[in-house]
Structure formats: C-alpha cells, structure tokens
Amino acid sequence: MVSAESWIAVPVVVPLAAALLSFLVRRGSLFISLAAAIINVLAAAILVNQFFVSGPAQYAVGGWDPPLGISLRTDGPALIMLVLTGLTGVAISLYAWGYFSFRIDQPARAGRPEKQERFFWPLWMLQLTGLNGLFLSGDIFNIYVTLELIGVSAAGLAALSGKSASITAALRYLLVSLLGSMSYLLGVVFLYKTYGVLDLGLLQKMAGPTPGVIAALAVMSVGLLLKTAIFPMHFWLPPAHANALAPVSAILSGLVVKGSFFLLFRLWFDIFSPALPHTAFSLMGALGAGAILWGGIQALRQQRLKLLIAYSTISQLGYLLIAFPLAFTGGNSQTWSAVLFMASGHACAKIAMFMSAGTIMLHLGHDRIRELAGIRAYLPVTAFAYAAAGVNLMGLPPSGGFIGKWMMLIASLSTHQWLWALVLLAGSFLAVAYVFRVVEQLFVIPPDAPFIERHPRAGLLEWPALILALISLLMGLIAPYPLRLLDTGMAPQVVQVIGG
C-alpha cells in the first residue's frame, strides 16, 4: 500500500488538488483550501517526524532515480520552510476567510470582492503548491517550473484587487519574475551543459569551480536576488505588496520572497559553496547591508502603513543576506542555521503585520499612519499583534529575530568583521524607529477617536495575526527545535566547508 515515504508528495499534491477543485467548485473553495492547508501542516509535521527518525530522505518521483528522474528530498532547510509555510498557510487561509467575508458583507463595488474571493483560493493554493514544490524539489529544472508557478500565481494574486496601481505593480512583478526565472533557467542550462545532470544531489557531488558553474551561479544568483527584491533591485516589491489585498500582501511578503531566497540559500550553501570565493560572500553582505539601511530609511519616510511594512520587508531581507559572509567566515554552523531561522521568524512577523494592516484598513478605510490613533479601542488584538510582530523586526529578545541577530553578531564579532555588526545594529535602530512610528499611534487612544463598527467576523482577522505574531515573538524560546532540524539537516561536506 501507500508507503510512508510518499508523505513527501502530500504538500505538493494536496494543495494542487485543492487548487483544481476550488477553481472548479467555487462555492466550497474556502473549505477545500482550508482543509488542504491543514492537511499540508499535518504532512509537514509527519515529515519532520520522519526526518528526526530516519534523517534526510530522497524520493524518486515516478520511480525514476536521478539523473533520469526527478527526486524530492527532505532536509533541514526544506523542512523548516515547509513547516513555516504550512503554519502560516493555515493562518493566512483563516484570515482570508475573515477578510473576504468582511468585504463581501460590505461591498464597495458590486461583485468585486466576491470575484476576488473566488479567484483568491485557487491562486493561493497554486502558490502554496509552488512553494512546497520548490522547498522539496531536488531537481534544478523542476525548481524552475515551481519558480514560474510561484511567479505567475504571485502576479495573479497581486493583481487581484483590480486597481490600476495593483495592475501596474503586478505587471512589473510579472516581468521581474520572468527576468529572474529566465536568468535562473540560463543558469540551469549552463549547469546541464557542464555536468549533464539536473539533480541537486548529484550536482553537489560534482560541483567545482568550473566555467559552467561560474556562469550558472552568476546568472542564477542575480536572477534570484532580483526575485527576492534585494536592495538595488527591490523596486518592484513595495508597490506590489502595498497595493495588494491584505492576505495577498501577507503571502507575498512573508512567503514568496522567502521562496526565491531559499533557493539562493540552497545554491550558495548547499550546492556550490566550494566554488564560491570569499569576495562573493562579501558582495552578498554588502548588498544585504545596503538593503538593511536603505529599506529602513525608506520605511521611515512612508506615509502609508502597508508601504512601510513593504519597505521593512526589504530591510529585513538584507539581514538574510548579511548572514552570507558571516556564515562563510564565521567558523560555526550556527550562523548558517540562523539565516533560515531568521527568515522564518520574519515570515511570521511580516505576515502578522500585513494581516494587522489589512484589518486596520478594512475597519478604518485607509492606512495613513498619522491617522491611526484610536484604533486600539476597537481592535486591541490587532494593535498588539502588530507590536509583537514589530518586536521581531527590531530583533529584540526573545523573538526569532533576536536569535538570528545574536548568532550573526557572534559570528561577526568573533571574526572581527565589525562593519557587519554595526550595520546589524543600525538596522535594528531603524527598525525600532519605523516600528514605533506606527506602534505609538496604535497604542494611544485619543479622546476624540472615531467610532468604528467591529465586524462580527473580526476575530478571524485578528487572531491569526496575533498567533503568528506571538510565534515570531516567542520563537527564540523554542529555538532549539528548529535549530536541531537545521543542524541535522546539514550535509557533512557543507559543515566542513563552512567550518573550515
């Protein structure tokens, strides 16, 4: 009968089926998707369990072993992203439920929110499929297909609100995504030309500093950087994220950029680290530093909440990159783990923030930061969720962000890379500034605060945000578990390389 290893297919197959069904059967799309999200989490949990029992696994799709066939694999990084996506996926689904029922109850334009809901679910499920496929895939061309799946569904989601601004942003997003994935594909071709295989595991064994790898890494990295919205190439992100519907912003900011980042991470640390010189890592660090500072400054100057959050995403992505030189020279595997740990902490926090912003916007009708005061009286949970998520962005204990920052600082100080440490601190200060710009508005209730009617389903909007925010806030306390996942997941060769 069905073997235990086949669980690995579930995170791909189930959302896929849900996407098809929810496109086909529109009425029940919500519940189909919700069920799929929950099954997805369960599958992720089972995979984690299997991982702890029997270590990294490889699964040949169709029974064809690589290099001929495609393999799926679970290892630490993949699993942590899988679990993250699963958890946040459920939260986002719940939130979207509340969000759309809210909007459908108060239609601003006939039919529009309903249309949005109908198409949201299949698109979201395909997005989930793409992400899970990306994390699990062990084949570089298959990864390209998942990237496209992610890219197109993300553009579709971004365009869902139907406003001109969001359409513009979505088109730009789509083109950027096209450019990114084409660059990636070019890299795939180079690799195939050089080694004649597409499997990650085989590539890892073969890879060395050869011309093909060099070209592949250069174009793939730059493509993925573009897709991840790293600093000088971030232009597409803020409009896309800020103009989308709230659940969509959450998906885009929390998960989608993490997908391409994960790939970058995998390429640089898992597969090709032997081929990469130190300077390359420093370049990544420099880009990260630029992102942290620039994103922070831009976040400071925004007048709108969602734009602020979007720019903070840019800033936070910089942290992930700044970890590259630190992990390379840090001489300890922790920094390596810190990257993904921080990424997942940030994902939870960012999703919670966008959810809060969406809730506020639904209730208030706008998201101008200066006019938010008083909202706490009606949406206390949301206000708190925003603040709690902000703690993660600021990197204060005990959040996941803190643990990540801690490990990075340790690495930078123990290897005397002062500059990175200073940038990390400066980024935190900027984060404090832009988080509290909002929080101070959220936390006060002026006497003349306007009265806002609470939607009966507002709980569905508020609590998922709070739970994610709390997860991000308390992630530091449960750090040993994900870190264990990462530690065991690392291939011995990589440990050697990074450690040496």
Partner: protein
C-alpha cells in the same frame, strides 16, 4: 521539576498570567481586574518572601532552558536577586493599590494594568537573570513593557516622551547587546558568578575588556540615568504618577542600577575589575551624575521634574558604592541604597501623585501651605525627602553612612566630598519644598481640587505612601535588626567579599 524551579516559574507567572488575563478583560470589569491585580501582587509577594527564606537557609534556585548552543536562559535566584525581587514585588503591591486608586474612572485601564503586570514580571526576570543573555532578554523586554505606560496619556507630549525614551533605551540596549556579544565571543557563555570570567583573559585582552566594560556601562547606564544618558527620565514624567513610581523605584531605573551591579560583581568579578582598573571610571561617572542631578534638580519648579533629577542623582549612589566594590562597607552602602532609594522615591512619587490628583498641583511654587490640606501625604513626603537628604534615622542616612564609611576605609576622600556636596544640594532642593508645604501660606485656591470624603484623599492613594514612609523610618531604625534590608545586604555581600 523540583519545587524550587516551580517556585521560580510561579513567581514569574504570578504577575504574567494576571497581566494576560487583564488584557483580555473588558474595560468595564473593574472589580475583577482589581482583584486579579491585587491577588497577583499578594501572591507574588508571598512567593518571593518564601523564596527569600529558602535562600537564607541555603537553598539554590536554578532553572535553565537552552535556546541554542551557548545561549541559554538561566534563571537563578541568588541573594542579590532575591533582594531586588523582594523590593520589586513589595513595591509593586503598593503601586498597584495606588494605581487602582489613581486611575479610578479613567479610560484604558485594562491596557494599563496589563502592561503594568508585564512590567513587573520582566523586572523580576531581570532580578533573577542568571547570565548576561537572560539579563539582556528581560532588559530589552522592560523597555517594551514600559513604553505603553509612558505614552499612556496619549498626548503629543507623552508621545514625544515615549520617543525619547525609546531613543535612549534602545540606543543603550543596542550598545549593551553589542558589548554582551563581544564579551561572549571573548569569554564564552558564562553564568553570573562572583568570580567573573577567567583571569587569563585579562592578560590577553585587557584593553578590549575595558572597552567592553564601558560599552556595557553605557548600555545599562541609560536606564540607570547616568549623566550624559539621563535625558529621557525627566521627560518621561508626563506619565501618570504610578508609572513614574514604577519607573523610578520599582523597575526601569532600578534595573539599570542592578545591571551595573551585576556587571561589576558578577560579570567581571571584583578582582578582575580592579586588575583592569575600571572602578575609578565608574566612580567618576557616578560622581558627576550625583552632582549634576542634584544641581539640575535645584532648578526645577515642576515637582515631578525635580524628583526625576533627584532620582538621577540618587541612583548613582548605587553606582558609587559599586565603584568601591572592593570595600565591603561601600558595597553594602551601594547595594542597600538599591532598596532604600526605591522606598524613598516611591514615597515621594506617590505623594507627588496625590498632590496632582487631589489638588491639581504640579509645581513647587503652588505648594505653599499644602501641608494643612494634605497633612498625611505631606508627612509621608517629608519623611521621604528627609530620607533623600540623609537625615537620621531614615534609611537614606543608613545607605549614605555606609557609603561614606566605605569611602573612608578606602581612603577615598572623593566619595565623601561628593556625598557631602550631594547631601547639601539634596537639602537645598528638598527642604524648601517641605518648608513651603508646611509653613507656607496658601495662595488662593488649589488649581483643581477634588474631595474624597473621609480622608484627605482617596484611601488607596493615601495608604501606599504612608506605608512606604513608615518603612523609610522603620527600616532605618531597625537597620541592625536581623530582617532589615541592611542585614540582607550584608548577607548578599558575604558572597562577594569572601
């Protein structure tokens, strides 16, 4: 889990859980909120006292939670933490009562009391932190927990104060984090022990260690309001009186001073720090702070502002005592002032709050003759102020006495000069308040008078300052008794002067 662990957790939870529940309570359920608050406070106090006794009889309280390799949460209740925890929990009870009275009928109380409880939880966490990471964790959380309290009024001024607070606190926090990590990379993960880190390190990295020390002091110095870093404190006075009391006596400023103590005694260790020659720096810094705070206090007309600057000055007594850490008496003086300053300053803030709440008085120039209208409040105020000046038999005298003794046994005349000048200035800014309150002639009517029936003000506003004022006197008179703060501090100091 042994009962010791359970006790630690229970102590933390006894304010945390009520805090969480209070957050969720609707605004209207005043009774439930108040009883939860008081129940939590009483429970916490009881538990802390039990813990004190157990510590006195040699029990060890440890709790570890590993976050990752080399980073663990470590809660450890040694006598020093017990001292701070006791102070905080007792004063929290009083402040809670006071706050309930103070905020009666004002909006957003669930929010307020929720953060109030979180704040004390975090403070207890600071007290019981057993290593730098844990300390840092709670230290940063303290900023977060107090910020909503500072901006509670929601006025522009409050927001500006909040911003200033954040600027300073997170600036300090960042510097502190940096220093902690730096030290971590040099010395590895280490718990607070009276020995500090290994002496070999000094041979290799003395200049770096010095620099780290400066960074650390700057980091915690922000909360302890050491002089160039004190700017937030007077501004934060826009917060309601219970918050000021909390900031000055229970939580924030205390946490900073406690941090200095920990850094000198437990992170570096007395021996090491002397070898590094760092104490004179600390002494200079604290002396400047003492004098500066007093001088600035002299020029304030706002009562709370004056008190705030007085805190700036007084808190550095602790640092001054610590800076003579190799002399037992000075150490005792410094540590005992941690408790004493808390009692005295909270009295003063309670009284200032009473003046503001009952009569609408915010300025010293409006206080003439107020002693007749609020005799009990002003009596408490007088006692608190006397304590601040250091007039016997108040506890202020006790700590000053020990500090001076420490100075003289160390042949460090500087300390005495500083303390005498400071006392002179303390007198110069407190005595006129007392005189004008008691002997001045009332000018016209009070700015905004409220009547509370039987007592001169709401009983919940009256009882806490009276209790603390009594404590200011009694704890001074019985300083040598077995169960006084002084005795406990001597117990604490045993560990460090062995």
């Amino acid at each position: 889990m042994s009962w010791e662990n359970a006790l630690i957790v229970a102590i933390l939870m006894s304010s945390f859980l009520p805090g969480i529940i209070i957050f969720m309570l609707p605004e209207k359920s005043t009774g439930l909120r108040t009883s939860l608050n008081l129940f939590g406070a009483l429970l916490k106090m009881t538990l802390v006292v039990i813990m004190d006794l157990a510590i006195y009889y040699g029990r060890v309280f440890h709790m570890r939670l590993e976050l990752m390799e080399g980073v663990e949460l470590f809660l450890n209740a040694d006598p020093l933490s017990a001292m701070f925890a006791t102070l905080s929990s007792v004063l929290w009870l009083l402040t809670t009562i006071y706050a309930v009275g103070y905020l009666e009928g004002s909006p957003n109380r669930s929010h307020f009391f929720g953060y109030f409880s979180l704040c004390v939880t975090v403070t207890i966490g600071i007290a019981m932190a057993g290593n730098l990471i844990t300390f840092l964790l709670f230290y940063e959380m303290l900023t977060l927990a107090t910020y909503p309290l500072i901006i509670h009024r929601g006025t522009d001024e409050a927001l500006a104060a909040g911003r200033s607070y954040l600027f300073y606190a997170f600036g300090g926090g960042g510097v502190f984090l940096f220093a902690v990590i730096w030290l971590h990379t040099l010395a590895g993960p280490a718990d607070f022990t009276s020995a500090g880190f290994t002496p070999q390190l000094i041979d290799n990295d003395a200049p770096v260690l010095r620099f780290i020390f400066l960074l650390m002091i700057a980091g915690v110095g922000v909360k302890a309001a050491l002089v160039p870093l004190h700017g937030w404190l007077p501004r934060a006075m826009v917060a309601p009186a219970p918050v000021s009391a909390l900031l000055h006596a229970v939580a924030v400023v205390k946490a900073g001073a406690f941090g200095i103590t920990r850094i000198v005694l437990d992170v570096y260790g007395i021996k090491n720090i002397i070898q590094l020659g760092l104490l004179p720096w600390l002494m200079t810094l604290s002396s400047i702070t003492i004098i500066w705070g007093s001088l600035r206090a002299l020029q304030q007309d706002g009562l709370k502002q004056r008190l705030a600057y007085s805190t700036v000055s007084q808190i550095s007594y602790i640092a001054l005592g610590i800076s003579l850490a190799d002399h037992r008496l000075a150490l005792i003086g410094g540590l005992v002032h941690l408790v004493h300053q808390g009692l005295m300053k909270i009295t003063l803030f309670f009284c200032a709050g009473n003046l503001a709440e009952t009569l609408g008085i915010h300025k010293i120039s409006e206080m003439a003759g107020v002693g007749r209208r609020l005799p009990l409040t002003m009596a408490a105020f007088t006692i608190g102020a006397m304590g601040m000046i250091g007039i016997p038999p108040t506890i202020g005298f006790v700590s000053k006495w020990y500090l001076c003794l420490g100075g003289i046994t160390a042949h460090n005349w500087w300390v005495i000069v500083v303390l005498v000048i400071s006392s002179l200035l303390n007198g110069a800014y407190f005595l006129p308040i007392i005189i004008t309150a008691w002997f001045g002639k009332q000018q016209g009517s009070w700015p905004r008078e409220k009547n509370f029936g039987r007592f001169e003000t709401h009983w919940m506003l009256l009882a806490p300052p009276l209790v603390t004022a009594l404590a200011v006197i009694v704890a001074g008179i019985i300083a040598n008794a077995q169960f006084s703060p002084l005795a406990w501090v001597e117990f604490v100091v045993q560990e460090y002067t062995r």
